[in-house]
Amino acid sequence: MTSTILRALSPWLLLALLFALAPQAFPSASALTMMSVMGVMIIFALSYNILLGQTGLLSFGHAVYYGLGGFVTIHAMNAIIHAKLNLPAPFLPLIGGLAGLAFGALFGLVSTKRAGIVFSMISLGLGELVSSSSFILRSFFGGEEGITTNRTKLAPFFGHKFGPQIEVYYLVAVWCFVCIVAMYALTRTPFGRMCNAVRDNPERAEFIGYSPRMLRFISFCFAAFFAGVAGGLAVLNFEIMNAQQLGAQQSSLVLVMAYVGGAGFFFGPIIGAVIMTFLQITLSDLTSAWQLYFGLLFIAVVLYAPGGVAGWLMLHAEAARRGELWRLAPAYALIAPAFAAGLIGAVMIVELAHHLFDQALDEGSAMRLFGVDVDAASMAPWLVALLLLGAGIGLGRLLWPRVGDAWGVVAARLNRAAAA
């Protein structure tokens, strides 16, 4: 009895431990900032997946609830500071959540009438409506520069004023952990199961007496609530909120996070949020073409791995549990160099082209690429890049059947084991 409870609890204890010890492993200031952003984005991406993964609603305007939650939080925060109310920082994301919920209920009434592609278009339209309103309602959205605040002016919480980043990190981590547990619990309730039913077959859900529209609406409200919490936390972390946070770019970002991570699994968006935040912060330091890489990565996932990172991991986890993973190793070892060559070639082409078209006018065509000085206007680097890309694609095509064969063997053995 106790062992089953322990087994059920162990992933959560592990997660809590991970949150608690992460600052010990990465104590630098930049790592703390990045991990705080990751915590916020994890909540945001998971809230998005209540719609996409669990209810089958593809939203293009989810940042509206994140942003509005943030704006209401920041105004409330400034009012609290002004009135010297005794409400410390850890409770403020709740205000964001409630604001998200209120706006979610309002817009959800309109948008959850229909599912499928019409829902997507309505969410896009509502997103545009709100983000273009931000240029009109300037005193609420703060115009171009946004609204700023100062979290240390809030009443202290057991002596903590949340000045240093480490205190903010732990605040984000606790909220993040609580939200992950809450959203996971939500998927295990009858309501969560009915959402899956509405996603898979709305007609049959209706036959057993549930209104798909009502379920979509409730699920939309939950998603908006958690997005609002994320927005409130973002306000505490950044101490600023502007109209960009609720625009199309932020909505796209959360979609990419959830999808690249893997919308089909509960933990997929967590992986997606961690990976994309890491890439966003590190890549934007390395190259100014980082958004192009984001787009290419997204397209590659859509084309070749629709299950996302989580889907890919789960596929291998099943094989690993049965002790069959080693059968894939030779095929993977063969294809890895081809994959690496193709990737390096592609990155070289993007960097060369980007330098030649974007920066060569100001800085000249000389540049550093992978630690080597090259001239983007000369033939040699382009030839090397094309050769690498061509070799990568050619070898990949040649060797890919081997990976398929290896998977065929493993799948057959897994099936046999499952049947026996």
Partner: protein
């Protein structure tokens, strides 16, 4: 006032016809393939940039004919090697593919032509005054745009109602499965429709580029409006898309020309909490009018102006 009405109507109809050139392809593609093409406005942008690049080298008239063909060929390739691949993963993957594609096209455009608007000018052969009315002149290039859009509309109508392939396309709008069962090569029809749709959007870009601003954000600012057009018009209805295009074109153009605000109507003293709203002019509201129309339409008539399909 009369002058405002006449010129706003002209400009509104022109803007509406441009919208329809794109919305028609979008709604055809959506009705036949179930794919909401996020990259449709990107083809419009590519049309403008190709037009700019070709007219810089060869002159406007070659670019007028070549750029749409290039964009159309690109569209057909996207269908053949991209969309058809993800088709097996379902509609959501198709939608996400075009979404990612739109993003990449915008990034590439920025990379090749820079973030700032390019200097795509009205060709000298069309740069004169068409007519003068009530002391206001109307440029010939705008008349040329209007005529092109109308010619395109007539051409599309003729193909759809008078030719065999138009018949199949029309049938596929309402009964795609039956068309496939009758033995038509539906994937090839998809490719052609996708290519023609892209070419139409490209043509709209070539002619709109000099009159509006050719910049990398032109796709992402126009794309959502196109979705509004096809939802308001009713999904799968070409007539609906036509009327919705004109409606949005005219309403938005009129709104831009009006400077009335609540403060002007009821005095400068705003009631509490309405400070911002009080000062807003109708012209400032113009960008959100299409989206407000979308929400209104969905509340009052979810199938759109002339639509019959629910999804």
């Amino acid at each position: 006032m009369l002058q405002l009405v006449i010129f706003s109507t002209l400009n509104g109809v022109l803007y509406g016809m441009l919208l329809f050139m794109m919305a028609s392809g979008l709604t055809l593609i959506f009705s036949m393939m179930g794919v909401l093409n996020f990259a449709h406005a990107s083809f419009y942008m590519l049309g403008a940039y190709f037009g700019f690049e070709i007219s810089r080298r060869l002159g406007f008239w070659p670019s007028f004919f070549v750029a749409p063909l290039l964009v159309g060929a690109l569209g057909a390739l996207v269908e053949r090697y991209g969309l058809r691949r993800v088709h097996k993963f379902g509609h959501v993957s198709e939608l996400l593919f075009t979404f990612g594609l739109a993003f990449i096209i915008e990034e590439l455009t920025q990379m090749f032509w820079g973030k700032l608007p390019v200097d795509y000018r009205v060709p000298p052969s069309l740069d004169f005054v068409a007519f003068r009315l009530l002391d206001t002149t109307y440029p010939a290039y705008r008349m040329f745009m209007l005529l092109t859009a109308i010619a395109m509309f007539v051409f599309l109508l003729a193909i759809l109602t008078r030719t065999r392939i138009g018949l199949i396309v029309q049938a596929a709008l309402t009964h795609p499965d039956t068309v496939a069962m009758l033995g038509h090569n539906v994937p090839r029809i998809f490719m052609i429709v996708f290519g023609v749709g892209a070419a139409l959007a490209g043509l709209a870009g070539v002619i709109a580029g000099p009159a509006l601003v050719t910049q990398p954000s032109m796709a992402s600012s126009l794309g959502p409006i196109l979705f509004v057009v096809i939802v308001v018009g009713g999904l799968g209805s070409l007539q609906g898309a036509f009327f919705a295009s004109l409606l949005i074109g005219v309403v938005q153009t009129f709104a831009v020309a009006m400077n009335y605000s609540l403060a002007e109507a009821f005095g400068a003293n705003a009631p509490p909490l309405l400070g911002d709203l009080w000062q807003v002019t109708i012209a400032q509201l113009a960008p959100i009018i299409p989206y407000a129309l979308l929400v209104l339409m969905l509340i009052l008539r979810p199938t759109g102006l002339m639509g019959t399909r629910e999804t």
